[in-house]
């Protein structure tokens, strides 16, 4: 038992962080505001870094790595606010040809119950080559043209274009119900990894600001009220990170636990951590936190977007409760 990052996990995380720093510095990510399509060069860079293929077998063009490796990679992507259908394309790579190589961008949708009132939303539709619909029967694949969709003018996350789906046709069944459950579970865990990256990024942002910003002739970080806000941010991020890593390892090593319980728990805690930390980051920044300039809000909006894709917190908690 060694729950620290292995040397190659640490090296992969480090490489991914460097790649994000050079390819996705915050000013470049922010420059994508208002875009309706995913930047092809950026996507190619992600594919070349193995983001979509790393869990595929080497014979299938992948790196044959585990979910633990994927988790540390997605944590870095979350930290850097990298846009696009990252998790969906990654989990679809085992099904959709060209997803692993970056030729196809893929969307993932959980089929909602009939007679619903609230809309179903999908990101980056204009860039997608396929949409996978997950339901109790299994996984259905649809060409994006088959979906009746309407663009959302002004989405919450300024860096992610959204479409609202009017109808979701049946589509071809491409995998069974067991695979559908695995896809959804992996989607939970890797989305949670993105969220943990965000939770950490805003904790650091707030801590740095608390060291620099002076009021009453002292750094505000010397006031316990601010200090404790920052400490609580770290606790939330580290707790969520442990839960995401445990869930990822449990997918790779099924006999150490229940991967769905771990995945639902990780999704619950990482959503909470990312949203709560982004709010706390705004609070630590005071008025500046309410400005467009400080990126705290970009993390808040992205965290809201990603966590909304995991279903209601109440439901995730019930999944854990049922499997305790």
């Amino acid at each position: 038992m060694d729950f620290e990052l292995s040397d190659d996990e640490a090296a992969l995380a480090e490489a991914m962080r460097r790649m994000c720093q050079s390819r996705f510095p915050l000013e470049r990510v922010r420059a994508g505001e208002g875009r309706r399509v995913v930047d092809a060069d950026q996507w190619r860079a992600l594919a070349e870094a193995g983001v979509f293929s790393l869990r595929l077998a080497e014979d299938d063009g992948g790196a044959g790595l585990g979910t633990a490796h994927a988790a540390v990679v997605f944590e870095e992507l979350g930290r850097a606010l990298v846009p696009g259908p990252l998790v969906a394309t990654h989990v679809a790579a085992r099904i959709v040809k060209g997803a692993g190589t970056g030729e196809q961008l893929v969307g993932l949708v959980h089929r909602p119950p009939m007679g619903r009132v609230l809309p179903v939303v999908v990101a980056d539709l204009a860039s997608l080559g396929a949409v996978l619909v997950v339901d109790e029967q299994g996984v259905h694949q649809l060409p994006p043209e088959a979906l009746e969709a309407e663009p959302i003018d002004h989405g919450l996350d300024p860096l992610t274009p959204l479409w609202r789906l009017a109808t979701i046709p049946e589509g071809a069944v491409v995998a069974d119900a067991g695979t559908a459950r695995e896809l959804w579970r992996d989607h939970l865990v890797l989305s949670a990894a993105l969220l943990v990256g965000m939770a950490s990024a805003v904790a650091e942002l707030a801590t740095e600001y608390a060291k620099q910003r002076r009021q009453f002739d002292r750094p505000i970080g010397s006031f316990q009220a601010v200090k404790h806000l920052c400490a609580d941010m770290l606790v939330r991020a580290e707790t969520a990170r442990a839960s995401v890593h445990a869930a990822a390892v449990t997918i790779d090593q099924p006999d150490v636990g229940d991967a769905l319980r771990a995945g639902a728990g990780a999704a619950l805690l990482a959503s909470d951590a990312a949203v709560a930390n982004a709010k706390a980051c705004i609070q630590v920044h005071g008025g500046m936190g309410f400005t467009w300039e400080v990126p705290a809000h970009l993390y808040l909006m992205r965290a809201a977007l990603v966590s909304r894709g995991l279903g209601r917190a109440q439901r995730l908690a019930e999944v854990v409760a049922e499997r305790l």
């Binding site: 009132v117 809309p119 179903v120 609202r164 002739d217 467009w292």
Partner: protein, 395 residues
């Protein structure tokens, strides 16, 4: 303890309600929040209507042209305006609720004569130049400097978080006129004409995507000494005095609007089926109970102000509790909206039952984050409560 309104209060309410019933339908559509000139025109026209009907400066003394209403009448006024969905005070905010009251108490007769009627009639719009990039919670650290030159002060520096600067006629400005003694000492209060040369206004984009605030850059702006309210270096006291005008009615409009919001959340939960979930009902019920309690606290604070004519200590308690509650309320709205909460544009329900109300709930959510920061962060409010009410020693 008596929660019934007196006959006089009910008469006041009935008159106001009748006037609102007649007047509100005559108003045009509210302008886009991004169109400042249209907002000024709309808000000041509404102020003029209030003025003509005798409701301008509801809490201002009659001798300066106000209604001279009691705190309880002021509460009734806010209730009725909220009930009628009347326009918000908007660009008249600083004039009616901050600069005007300051001039009422601290201005000379000439200054009152010169500045107050314009505020009441909607002819003059004011903005506020208090905070600076390095003087936020620590306002007294402000560094915008004014140097006396003949009959003028020459002002240079910068201000931040100024609302309606683009359409304001005057700015209530705090400047540093002395570095001697404690930093609170060397501050002076000026009414700066916004058409004076040397003022550069730069909109400040907020996380809501709006330009609700601006930064002011002041470079050698000349402000006549005649525009100074109070003595030189006495501006901190002048500003604090304004707070004594507060009669427990701050945030009451928003509180009442929040109660309406809870009703909307209940309706939304019923439409989506979330109401079947006992946990959702309990969350809504708890928020409702807390709002009821804060409505009690607001009426207590107003009653105290009515009896003693000084603001109760309850203001910080109310502000802290309400701003935190408002965030939870706004978050519940987002939780109930699911993916619909991701769109700023209004969406229709998938079952054909009409608009979901998501645009407004998203707006409430985004703006809720400023609630625990603006007008004193929650951290500062807790310090105030601990030190001024409980008497705990300064840190």
């Amino acid at each position: 303890m008596d929660l019934r309104y007196s006959e006089a209060e009910e008469t006041f309410r009935a008159g106001l309600r009748a006037w609102l019933t007649d007047t509100i339908p005559t108003l045009g559509a509210a302008p886009s929040p991004h169109d400042w000139p249209a907002r000024r025109a709309y808000d000041t026209a509404w102020q003029r209507m209030l003025y003509d009907a005798g409701y301008a400066g509801i809490d201002w003394p009659a001798e300066v042209g106000g209604r001279g209403a009691s705190p309880v009448e002021q509460l009734v006024y806010l209730e009725e305006l909220e009930r009628a969905h009347a326009p918000y005070v908007g660009v008249n905010f600083v004039g009616l609720l901050h600069a005007g009251p300051t001039i009422v108490v601290e201005g000379t007769p000439e200054q009152r004569e010169r500045f107050l009627p314009g505020i009441l009639k909607g002819d003059a719009v004011w903005c506020q130049g208090f905070s600076e990039p390095d003087a936020g919670s620590d306002l007294a650290a402000l560094r915008t400097r004014a140097v006396r030159d003949g009959d003028d002060y020459v002002v240079s520096g910068s201000k931040i978080w100024t609302s309606h600067a683009e359409v304001a006629d005057y700015c209530e400005l705090l400047v540093r006129t002395s570095d001697e003694g404690p930093k609170q000492r060397g501050i002076t209060w000026l009414a700066m004409p916004m058409d004076a040369p040397g003022i550069d206004i730069r909109p400040l984009r907020t996380i809501a995507g709006s330009n609700e605030f601006a930064e002011l850059f002041l470079d050698g702006v000349r402000v006549p000494v005649a525009n100074r309210v109070g003595e030189e270096n006495d501006g901190w006291r002048v500003t604090m005095v304004t707070l004594s005008f507060e009669r427990g009615t701050a945030f009451v409009g928003e509180l009442l609007q929040s109660m309406e919001l809870v009703g909307e959340l209940r309706a939304l939960a019923r439409r989506t089926g979330a109401w079947e979930d006992a946990a959702v009902r309990a969350q809504v019920g708890r928020l409702g109970a807390e709002l009821d309690a804060l409505w009690g606290l607001a009426r207590r604070n107003v009653s105290q102000a009515a009896r003693t004519d000084v603001p109760g200590v309850g203001g910080s308690v109310f502000k802290l509790a309400f701003s935190e509650l408002r965030q939870r309320l706004a978050q519940l709205g987002q939780d109930l909206l699911g993916a619909a909460g991701l769109s700023w544009g209004e969406l229709e329900a998938d079952d054909g039952s009409g608009p979901l109300g998501n645009a407004r709930l998203l707006d409430v959510w985004i703006n809720s984050f400023s609630r625990t920061i603006a007008a004193g962060t929650s951290q500062i409010q807790r310090n105030i409560i601990a030190e001024r009410i409980l008497g705990l020693p300064k840190g």
